[in-house]
C-alpha cells in the first residue's frame, strides 16, 4: 500500500547501548511510520522491540537512558545523536547532544507499555481524572478537558466507567484506560507494546476495531508484538527484529510463512496461523491450529490414563463455591497499585465467583479451563493449593482434604504457576529462585541437582547466576515454570501459561507439560487461548458465570 505522505516518525539507529557496560541492544535499524498507517514491529522475546518502542516514544531518552548513535525525527524535526564519533556522518566536529523533552515528545507520541497499570498515575481517584492527568499537566482549560475525556471515553468504551476507581478495573479495562491516556492528547503516533497479551477474544476484537479507527483517522499506529494475529496481517508494513537488528522488513504479503523470513520464535495465531507451531525436540509433532482435523489433534496429545472419574483422582473439587467476603484473602488486584483512599467505603459484598464447582483430575491428565476475562479462572486455581479457601465445599489433593492445612504445606503436592511471573519471582539469581523452598522439600543435596535440572528443562541453565529481572518476559515465564517443575508436584496448576511466551518458549512449555503429565502429574491449565487449550489438553472445561461446563 503506498504511503499517503511522508513519515511522521522516523529513526535511523546505528547503535543503542545501555549504560550497564553490555554490548549494543539495537543495531542498524531503520524505521519510518507515516500518518494513517499500521506498522508491526515483530520480534521474539529479547529481540529488542520493547527497547525500540520506548526509544521511539521518548520513554527511554538518549543520554540518560543509554547511548544512541543515529537520529530520531518527529514531525520534520531531526535530532542527531552521537555525532562527532564513529559513524556520525559528514560533519564530524563536536556538537552539543540534543535532549528529548519527554513531555513534549509524549504529546506527539503516545506509548502504552506491556504492563498497562504502570502507565497510570495512581493518584487520581476516577477513570475520568486519570484520563485528564496529562491534559491537566499541559494546562488545558477545563471545558476542553471535559470534552476530550468524553470523546476519548466514547472511543474506548469507557463511558460507563468514568467514575470508577482505576484500581478496581479488570485487566482489559485497564489496558483500554492506558490507551486512552496515551491518545487523549491526539498524538500523531501511538506505540503499543504487546497490547493483545492477556486479552480474551472479545477484548482483542474491540482493540482491533479501535486500532483500525485510529489508523483511519490519521494516526500512525505502531504495534510491538511477538505474535502475528489477524490485525497485524493487515498491517501496512512489518519490521521484523532479531537479536537487536532488522531481520526482515516489508509488507506482510512479502513475508509470508513460506518465505522463511520471519523467525520461528514469532508465533502466528488465530486467522494468521497458517503453519505448524514450532515443536520442541521431545514433543510429538503438533499443530496449533483450531482448524486441524480432530484426528490430528488426538494424535498430538498422548492418551489420558483410563480410570474411573473420582476414584484415584490426584485432584478433586467437590461442590466448591466462593465469594470474596470481608474476611477472605484478596487475590492479586489487577491494578498493581491499590490506589484506594483510606476514606473510601469498603467494597460491597460480591456475588459468587465460583458456584458449585465439581472437577476431578486423574494423574497424568491435562485439563484446560477456558473462559472470558474476569470469569474467575485465577480464583479457581488459587483454591487448588489453599491460597484461597472455598466458602462452601471441599478441595481434595491425593484424596486428602486440604481444608485447615497451611498453603505452604499443600505446596508440596501442588505447584502453581501464577498469571504474572513478576508475582512469582523474588530472588536475586535464577538458581536461588528455583531453589527457594526446595531444601525443605528434597534435602539440601538433592535440591541443587533438582534446581539445575529444572533450569535445564526450560533452557535457562546458561543464565543460572543472572538476575531474574534481566530475563525477557518469555524467559521470566519459563523461570517461573522451572520453579514449579523443580518441586515435582503431583498437581500442576498453570494460570495463563502462554501469555508472554514466544514461539520457542511455547514449545518448551508444551514439552514440559507433556513430560510432567507422562510422569503422572495431574495438570490443570487456565487459558483464554483456545488454540493452545485444544492442542495441549485431554479435556476442556469452560468457566462462565461461576459454573463449570464440559466443552
Amino acid at each position: 500500500m503506498p504511503l499517503p505522505t511522508g513519515p511522521v516518525l522516523e529513526a535511523g539507529i546505528q547503535s543503542f547501548t545501555f549504560h550497564d557496560g553490555g554490548g549494543p541492544v539495537l543495531e542498524r535499524i531503520g524505521f519510518a511510520a507515516a500518518p494513517g498507517t499500521l506498522t508491526a514491529v515483530l520480534g521474539a522475546s529479547g529481540s529488542g522491540k520493547t527497547t525500540l518502542g520506548r526509544l521511539l516514544a521518548g520513554w527511554l531518552t538518549p543520554g540518560s537512558g543509554g547511548t544512541l548513535h543515529g537520529y530520531l525525527e518527529l514531525g520534520g524535526t531531526r535530532l542527531d545523536f552521537g555525532s562527532g564519533r564513529a559513524g556520525a556522518g559528514a560533519n564530524g566536529q563536536h556538537r552539543v547532544e540534543p535532549r528529548i523533552d519527554p513531555a513534549k515528545w509524549g504529546r506527539q507520541v503516545g506509548f502504552v507499555p506491556q504492563d498497562a497499570a504502570a502507565a497510570l498515575s495512581t493518584v487520581r481517584a476516577t477513570v475520568a481524572e486519570e484520563l485528564a492527568f496529562g491534559l491537566e499537566n499541559a494546562g488545558v482549560p477545563r471545558p476542553a478537558m471535559v470534552a476530550a475525556v468524553a470523546r476519548t471515553a466514547g472511543l474506548l468504551g469507557l463511558t460507563g466507567l468514568l467514575d470508577r476507581n482505576p484500581a478496581r478495573l479488570s485487566g482489559g479495562q485497564l489496558r483500554r484506560l492506558a490507551i486512552g491516556c496515551a491518545v487523549i492528547s491526539g498524538p500523531a503516533v501511538l506505540v503499543m507494546d504487546e497490547p493483545f497479551a492477556s486479552l480474551d477474544a472479545a477484548g482483542a476484537h474491540e482493540l482491533a476495531a479501535l486500532v483500525r479507527h485510529l489508523v483511519a483517522s490519521g494516526t500512525a499506529v505502531v504495534i510491538l508484538s511477538q505474535v502475528i494475529d489477524g490485525l497485524l496481517l493487515a498491517a501496512d508494513q512489518w519490521l521484523v527484529l532479531a537479536a537487536g537488528t532488522v531481520a526482515a522488513a516489508g509488507d506482510p504479503a512479502s513475508l509470508g510463512p513460506d518465505t522463511g523470513l520471519v523467525p520461528a520464535g514469532i508465533r502466528r495465531v488465530g486467522g494468521a496461523a497458517g503453519g505448524a507451531l514450532p515443536t520442541a525436540r521431545t514433543a510429538p509433532a503438533a499443530t496449533g491450529n483450531a482448524e486441524v482435523p480432530a484426528a490430528a489433534r488426538t494424535a498430538a496429545v498422548p492418551a489420558a490414563p483410563r480410570e474411573t472419574a473420582g476414584a484415584g483422582a490426584a485432584l478433586e473439587l467437590r461442590d466448591v463455591s466462593f465469594s470474596y467476603g470481608p474476611d477472605s484473602r484478596r487475590p492479586r488486584n489487577k491494578g498493581r497499585w491499590l490506589a484506594r483512599s483510606r476514606n473510601a467505603a469498603p467494597p460491597p459484598r460480591q456475588p459468587l465467583v465460583l458456584a458449585g464447582i465439581n472437577l476431578a483430575v486423574r494423574p497424568g491428565e491435562i485439563v484446560a479451563v477456558t473462559g472470558p476475562n474476569g470469569a474467575g479462572k485465577s480464583t479457581l486455581l488459587r483454591h487448588l493449593n489453599g491460597l484461597l479457601r472455598p466458602t462452601t465445599g471441599s478441595v481434595l489433593v491425593n484424596s486428602i482434604d486440604i481444608a485447615g492445612r497451611a498453603a505452604g504445606k499443600t505446596a508440596a503436592a501442588v505447584g502453581l504457576l501464577f498469571q504474572h511471573p513478576r508475582d512469582q519471582l523474588f530472588e536475586r539469581t535464577l538458581l536461588r529462585e528455583v531453589r527457594f523452598g526446595l531444601d525443605r522439600l528434597a534435602g539440601a543435596a538433592a535440591a541443587g541437582e533438582r534446581a539445575a535440572a529444572a533450569l535445564a528443562a526450560v533452557g535457562l541453565q546458561g543464565a543460572a547466576h543472572g538476575h531474574p529481572a534481566e530475563l525477557s518476559a518469555s524467559g521470566q515465564r519459563l523461570l517461573a515454570l522451572a520453579t514449579v517443575l523443580a518441586r515435582r508436584p503431583s498437581v500442576i496448576a498453570l494460570d495463563e501459561p502462554t501469555v508472554a511466551l514466544d514461539g520457542d518458549g511455547l514449545a518448551v512449555l508444551d514439552a514440559a507439560v507433556r513430560s510432567a503429565a507422562a510422569e503422572g502429574a495431574a495438570v490443570v491449565l487456565v487459558t483464554h487461548d483456545l488454540d493452545y487449550a485444544r492442542m495441549a489438553a485431554h479435556r476442556l472445561v469452560a468457566l462462565d458465570g461461576g459454573r463449570l461446563t464440559e466443552c
Partner: protein, 247 residues
C-alpha cells in the same frame, strides 16, 4: 453546600493552634468532645479512635511520667520513692498538657479522616501548590496500601512454594524477613516504569496546570478561612503578650 477541604483544614488547624495557645481546661475538653462528635457524625469514629489511641496513649503516659514524677514547683507530695516525687501540681500540669495535646491531635485527625484526598489535592493544585507536592501528599496515602498489596503478592508466591506461615505476630514478622528484600526491589522496579510514564504525561512541566476535578468554594467559606487564620494568629500573639507581661 459541601465543606471545601481547605476550610476543613483551616478549621482543624486553627482549632489546634487556639487550644494550644489558650491552655485552658474547659476549652480543651470542649474541643475533644467536639472533634469526637464531628467524627461520630461523619461515621469515621471507628477508624479515628484506634489511630488517636496509638498517638495519644504513649504521649499522655510520657507526660505523666515526666511532669507527674518530676515537677520542680510541686509542693503537695502525694507519694515519694527516693528522688521521684508524685506531686498534685505535677499531675495537674501533666493532665492539663495531656488534654491540650488530645484536643489538637483529635481535631487534626478528625479532619484527616473526613477529608476527601482527591478533593484536597485538586484544591491545592487550584491554589497553585506545585504538582509535585500534591503528588507526594496523595502518594503518602496510596503508598501504604500499595506496599501491603505488593508484600502480599510476594508472600503468596512464597507460600505457593512451601513457605509455611503459622499464625501469630512473631511468625508473621519472621516470614516478613524473607519478603523485605524482594519487596524493596519490586517497588524500585515499579517506580522506574512509573517515572517514565509520569514524565511522558508532562508531570514535571513547569507551566500552569489545570484541574479536571472541581471543588465548589464560596465567598462565605473564603471569608471563614480568613477569619479562622486570623483568630489562630491572634491567639498566638495574645499568648505571647500574656507571657511577656507575666514574666
Amino acid at each position: 453546600m459541601r465543606l471545601h477541604p481547605l476550610t476543613g483544614l483551616a478549621a482543624a488547624g486553627s482549632t489546634a493552634v487556639i487550644t494550644t495557645a489558650a491552655g485552658s481546661w474547659p476549652l480543651s475538653l470542649a474541643v475533644v468532645a467536639g472533634a469526637l462528635a464531628v467524627s461520630a457524625a461523619g461515621g469515621t469514629a471507628r477508624r479515628l479512635l484506634p489511630a488517636a489511641a496509638a498517638v495519644l496513649v504513649p504521649l499522655t503516659l510520657s507526660l505523666l511520667m515526666v511532669h507527674g514524677l518530676a515537677y520542680p514547683e510541686g509542693r503537695t507530695v502525694l507519694a515519694e520513692w527516693g528522688p521521684a516525687r508524685v506531686t498534685a501540681e505535677g499531675l495537674g500540669f501533666a493532665l492539663q498538657r495531656g488534654v491540650q495535646v488530645c484536643a489538637a491531635v483529635l481535631a487534626l485527625l478528625a479532619f484527616s479522616f473526613s477529608v476527601s484526598v482527591p478533593d484536597l489535592v485538586a484544591a491545592m493544585n487550584a491554589k497553585g501548590v506545585s504538582g509535585r507536592f500534591a503528588f507526594v501528599l496523595a502518594s503518602t496515602l496510596t503508598l501504604l496500601p500499595a506496599i501491603a498489596a505488593q508484600a502480599e503478592h510476594i508472600r503468596t508466591a512464597q507460600e505457593a512454594r512451601g513457605l509455611v506461615i503459622r499464625r501469630g505476630l512473631v511468625h508473621r514478622a519472621a516470614a516478613f524477613r524473607l519478603q523485605a528484600v524482594p519487596l524493596v526491589l519490586a517497588l524500585v522496579d515499579d517506580a522506574g516504569t512509573r517515572a517514565a510514564a509520569l514524565e511522558a504525561r508532562g508531570f514535571s512541566s513547569s507551566g500552569p496546570r489545570t484541574s479536571y476535578r472541581t471543588v465548589p468554594d464560596s465567598t462565605a467559606q473564603r471569608l471563614l478561612r480568613a477569619v479562622l487564620l486570623l483568630a489562630a494568629a491572634a491567639s498566638v500573639v495574645l499568648r505571647l503578650l500574656t507571657l511577656a507581661a507575666g514574666g
